[in-house]
């Protein structure tokens, strides 16, 4: 336990100090941390799923609080919770099915268990199953709250568990094992989302295309390189992304892979967009309404693309899908970085306000990190499960998350 706790603290510190950046890296760290949390969590005999969920939630809350702008953390925590719920459900349904079918062949304590507990709560299990698999529907709402449905089940199974320790522990191990299996799959998915997305590149990029991109995203890099490997020849314009110059980084890697790359200033985006066939960007996060949070300057490019009817394509791995609907995301889901990236401190230091509150400062410097693109400016999302419209995002999100976890 203590080592997990220290790992959590360490990761929280990293997040807080913004040592880890980029949604993919954060997602990977988070999910690995959660895996060790789950594996080291001593599950009580009773109510294993709820205990695991509580543990993951507790850690998740800390992580989210450490960097609320990094939505990938919350996404991954929710994904893990969803996995736990699903595994738990499949276990219980399997157990029930087994009981129904192999009634006689099972040993007597199972029999006993069935006799006492299950009939009473089978309806609740079904309700819980519905609520986890098919999140918010009118039916689940009518049938009662899922929370109350799970509680009697666990309490009842806890009540009669004293005598069957050995068997229970095997079930516990089974649940934990399944959950960790699921989390491993998630890790695999996060690591492999680039390839999944890049595989689709060839369907979207044609010969002699001119592509504009901005910011530095590994997904975009892999996407473009995948098309290049398939012998498509095209040209990439990279906007440099002024205060952070992520575009330079991307350009360097593109050139290293042999792509025709042109670096332009951010201000030239509008001038060049009329000769561009497609804008491809990597998202920081995709919101449930289909809006995109991306590197700063993206909204400008999206508006220019709309003006010239250029498709605006967003690449996003599924760990970037955030089940929340944004409110005023330009401000609330943004982060202001140091003014020193824009201005030298020395020169304007007497005008800047350093938080000392000495009167009203003459000069303010704004250096946001992210930009929000409303869904109506996005033409297409390419995720690891294929291409989707912005309006379909909410549905995709319902596949990945359970409705109980939306508010953590």
């Amino acid at each position: 336990m203590p080592d997990v706790q220290s790992m959590v603290v360490e990761f929280v510190n990293k997040l807080r100090k913004r040592k880890i950046e980029g949604s993919q890296a954060t997602a990977k760290y988070t999910v690995e941390l959660l895996r060790s949390v789950i594996s080291q969590h001593r599950v009580p005999h009773a109510n294993q799923a709820a205990a695991l969920i509580d543990a993951v939630k507790a850690v998740g809350e800390q992580l989210v609080a450490a960097n609320p702008v990094e939505l990938a953390v919350g996404n991954v925590v929710r994904r893990v919770l969803h996995i736990i719920r699903e595994e738990d459900l499949s276990l219980t349904t399997a157990a029930m099915a087994g009981l129904d079918l192999l009634d006689a062949s099972d040993d007597d304590d199972e029999d006993n268990c069935k006799g006492i507990g299950y009939p009473a709560m089978s309806a609740a299990v079904v309700a819980a199953a519905r609520s986890t698999l098919r999140p918010p529907s009118l039916q689940t709402l009518l049938e009662g709250t899922p929370e109350s449905a799970t509680v009697p089940y666990t309490s009842s199974s806890g009540a009669d568990s004293e005598s069957k320790t050995a068997d229970k522990s095997s079930i516990t191990r089974k649940l934990k094992h399944d959950v960790i299996e699921g989390v491993n799959q998630l890790i695999h998915e996060i690591a492999g989302c680039h390839e999944q997305i890049a595989e689709q590149a060839i369907e979207h990029i044609h010969q002699n295309e001119v592509i504009l991109t901005l910011g530095s995203s590994r997904t975009v890099l892999e996407f473009l390189c995948a098309a290049k490997e398939k012998k498509r020849s095209f040209r990439v314009f990279v906007a440099e992304g002024a205060p952070r110059y992520q575009g330079h980084l991307l350009a360097k890697e593109l050139v290293a892979r042999g792509l025709q790359t042109t670096v332009i200033t951010d201000s030239a985006v509008f001038a060049m967009i009329s000769r561009v066939n497609m804008v491809i960007i990597g998202a920081h996060a995709v919101m449930a309404n289909g809006g995109v949070i991306g590197p700063v300057g993206v909204n400008m490019a999206a508006l220019a693309a709309q003006k010239h009817a250029v498709p605006f394509v967003v690449l996003a791995g599924s760990h970037k899908l955030c089940p929340l609907y944004p409110h005023n995301p330009e401000v609330l889901l943004n982060e202001l970085r140091s003014p020193s990236e824009l201005l030298d401190f020395g020169e304007f230091s007497d005008c800047l306000d350093f938080g000392a509150g000495s009167g009203s400062p003459l000069l303010q410097v704004v250096n946001p990190t992210f930009d929000y693109v409303p869904p109506n400016l996005v033409s297409l999302f390419i995720t690891d499960t294929g291409g989707h419209n912005p309006s379909y995002m909410y549905r995709l999100i319902a596949d990945y998350y359970s409705a109980d976890d939306l508010v953590m």
Partner: protein, 640 residues
């Protein structure tokens, strides 16, 4: 920052109230009242004495009822002329004396934009309405059209007048002014009428007045008067005067393609290179889309040229110096560049002496052309410079052949002086006056880059104690916004600084966007510092009005739809290296990679639908009215 934008309804509805002269009624009446009486009366006689048809050429009848023959109209036109031309004088004319021969010409080194503004703004605002005589001089010269025609026709031997007329016709045609038949007839009519009037006047010996001391007489009248007395001396020199129409036209032809030379046309490039003084080396890695634009290695040829400074005899040192300043980027900004060039030309004119066997008109035009092509080698011309050059050449071509050399030189110098004062300095003051009315208390104004006109507007509004905040948006690689920021902060204006990428973030708070322009093209497109289009677009998306401040001499009849067909390429290496950020060095050592290009565009074209209003010295107009101003202004250009 916490309080986001208030409901949009607050936004000034007046922005849509665009008109030609002023924003509001009271303001225009104020102007009329402000303008000194003697001037108003002085300005009208020269115009009104000439026949109404002559008046139809007046550049100031905007909007012009084309074939209006009613008697009342010319007078109204004249009054309008007075209003538009004089009104600026009411608060700033004193500057024309102090400024040109004072601070500007005296500072030979770097004419940076900051010093430029400082040098004349305070003067303009602190000494209102002094120097009526100079005002009168300027006034009279701005009285359009008739003056010059009078001069040229009167001094011609009778046989030549036809020549001159056709010459003028050609001029106007070659300027691609689409004149209708009726208009051409009107032009001829006007010239004939002017001739008649001038004959009456010239025969009736206008006394040679010292320029501008008497309010009632125009400078032009003084010029006409002198030559008549000296006619005999000049006639000899004016022997081959029937060729007079030739050089200017040829030069114009020669001149016209230069700014728009297509650099993917190899034969022409080779030809141009042979002539070139500045041996620019071509950049290796060029962007395919921009083959038609020149792209050179920067910073390599400057030392070389500096050493040549004392060896170049065909080049006038003043021009050479200005050229080098363009090359090194010491002078930038449309107005500063234009003024520097015109002042260099003034020097040229001052030191000029006609070589034997040549006429002043032809030789000087050729000289100017060669200087211009040198300046183009240093840096492509801006539209404003092109217009100024056109003006200078026109004036040279139109110099009466009967003038003695010294007089011609004096006339030219004063013409150039007048152009600087009237079209740039006074125009800026008028723009400031108009634009300030658009700034209200509590406004949050956004500006991009470092436009001189907007800076003057902001400073003036601050002087008027309006309470507003300025968002300075900047972009790489020039970071001109920092210079503006420095100057604004020095004056105590509240500023917020950011890069263009963050524009959507801050646009929420903005109530008005003020932009500058390098040029306004006749389809309403604003051709300006790269990034302006982005700012205007985002402002448009956020329903924030966009106001463009631009002097009318920067208007051009060209049209442009994108930023690619005509543009200027800056130093590509400025992109790969980030000034002041040593940690950003991803692209070091990759600059020669064949797969990597850097594109440093200098300008972009903002579509007219993003622009709410253009503030010019003719008033505040919607972008759709640009062609009207261009047409009227070009007319003035040709005929003044």
């Amino acid at each position: 920052m916490e309080s986001r934008r208030n409901p949009r309804a607050v936004v000034d509805p007046k922005v849509r109230q665009v008109g030609f002269f002023t924003s509001s009624q009271p303001d225009s009446t104020q102007q009329q009242q402000q303008q000194p009486d003697p001037i108003a009366s002085a300005s009208s006689p020269p115009v009104s004495t000439i026949s109404p048809s002559g008046n139809s050429l007046s550049p100031v009848m905007i909007p012009p009822p084309r074939h209006n023959s009613s008697d009342t109209f010319p007078l109204r036109g004249a009054a309008a002329a007075a209003a538009s031309a004089v009104s600026p004088s009411s608060f700033s004319y004193s500057s024309r004396r102090d400024f040109p021969d004072g601070s500007m010409t005296a500072s030979p080194g770097r004419v940076s934009r900051g010093s430029f503004i400082k040098s004349y703004v305070p003067v303009a605002s602190s000494l209102p309405g002094v120097g009526i005589d100079s005002m009168a001089a300027a006034k009279s010269s701005s009285v359009p059209a008739t003056g010059l025609t009078t001069v040229s026709v009167v001094n011609m031997p009778p046989g030549l007048s036809e020549e001159v007329q056709s010459d003028q016709k050609n001029n106007s045609k070659s300027l691609k002014e689409k004149t209708t038949k009726a208009e051409r007839r009107a032009l001829q009519e006007a010239q004939r009428a002017a001739k008649a009037a001038a004959k009456a006047e010239g025969g009736g010996k206008v006394p040679p007045v010292t320029s501008g001391s008497v309010a009632g007489t125009s400078v032009k009248a003084a010029k006409t008067a002198k030559p008549t007395s000296q006619k005999n001396d000049v006639v000899v020199a004016a022997g081959p005067s029937e060729k007079k129409g030739g050089p200017s036209e040829k030069d114009r032809k020669k001149d016209a393609p230069h700014p728009r030379m297509q650099y993917d046309d190899e034969s022409r490039v080779v030809k141009a290179k042979r002539r070139a003084v500045v041996k620019q080396t071509e950049a290796k890695n060029r962007v395919e889309l921009f083959r038609h634009l020149p792209q050179y290695e920067h910073g390599t040829q400057l030392p070389d040229l500096e050493t040549k400074f004392f060896q170049l005899d065909p080049m006038h040192p003043a021009v050479y110096k200005v050229g080098l300043q363009y090359l090194s980027g010491d002078i930038s900004g449309g107005n500063a560049r234009c003024i520097a060039m015109l002042q260099a030309f003034q020097e040229v004119v001052k030191d000029y002496s006609t070589p034997p066997e040549k006429t002043l008109n032809r030789d000087m035009t050729a000289k100017i052309s060669s200087y211009v092509s040198f300046l183009i080698e240093c840096r492509p011309l801006s539209v404003s410079m092109g217009n100024a050059i056109r003006f200078v050449k026109n004036r040279i071509a139109k110099l009466p052949i009967t003038l003695s050399e010294s007089e011609a030189k004096a006339a030219l110098q004063s013409d150039i002086e007048m152009f600087i004062n009237e079209k740039i300095i006074v125009a800026d003051n008028v723009i400031v006056k108009h634009a300030v009315t658009k700034i209200r208390d509590g406004d949050v104004l956004l500006t991009y880059g470092s436009p001189t006109a907007v800076e003057m507007v902001l400073l003036r509004a601050h002087e008027l104690r309006k309470k507003f905040r300025v968002l300075v948006v900047d972009s790489r690689p020039k970071l001109e916004g920092q210079l503006l920021l420095r100057r604004l902060i020095k004056r105590g204006i509240n500023c917020t600084y950011t890069h263009i990428n963050a524009i959507s973030y801050i646009m929420h708070e903005v109530t008005k966007v003020f932009l500058g322009a390098s040029s306004v093209l006749s389809n309403g497109t604003v051709y300006s510092r790269v990034g302006t289009a982005c700012v205007a677009m985002v402002a448009n998306a956020f329903r924030v009005p966009v106001l463009v401040c631009c002097e009318a001499y920067k208007f051009h009849e060209r049209v442009q739809l994108d930023s690619i067909c005509s543009n200027e390429l800056g130093d590509p290496n400025a992109i790969s290296k980030v000034r002041g950020r040593e940690d950003i060095n991803y692209l070091d050592g990759l600059t020669n990679n064949a797969n990597l290009q850097f594109l440093n565009l200098m300008y972009d074209a903002t579509p007219s639908d993003y622009i709410s209003m253009i503030i010019t010295d003719y008033g505040m107009v919607p972008p759709t009215s640009v062609p009207v101003i261009v047409r009227e202004y070009q007319k003035e250009h040709v005929l003044v």
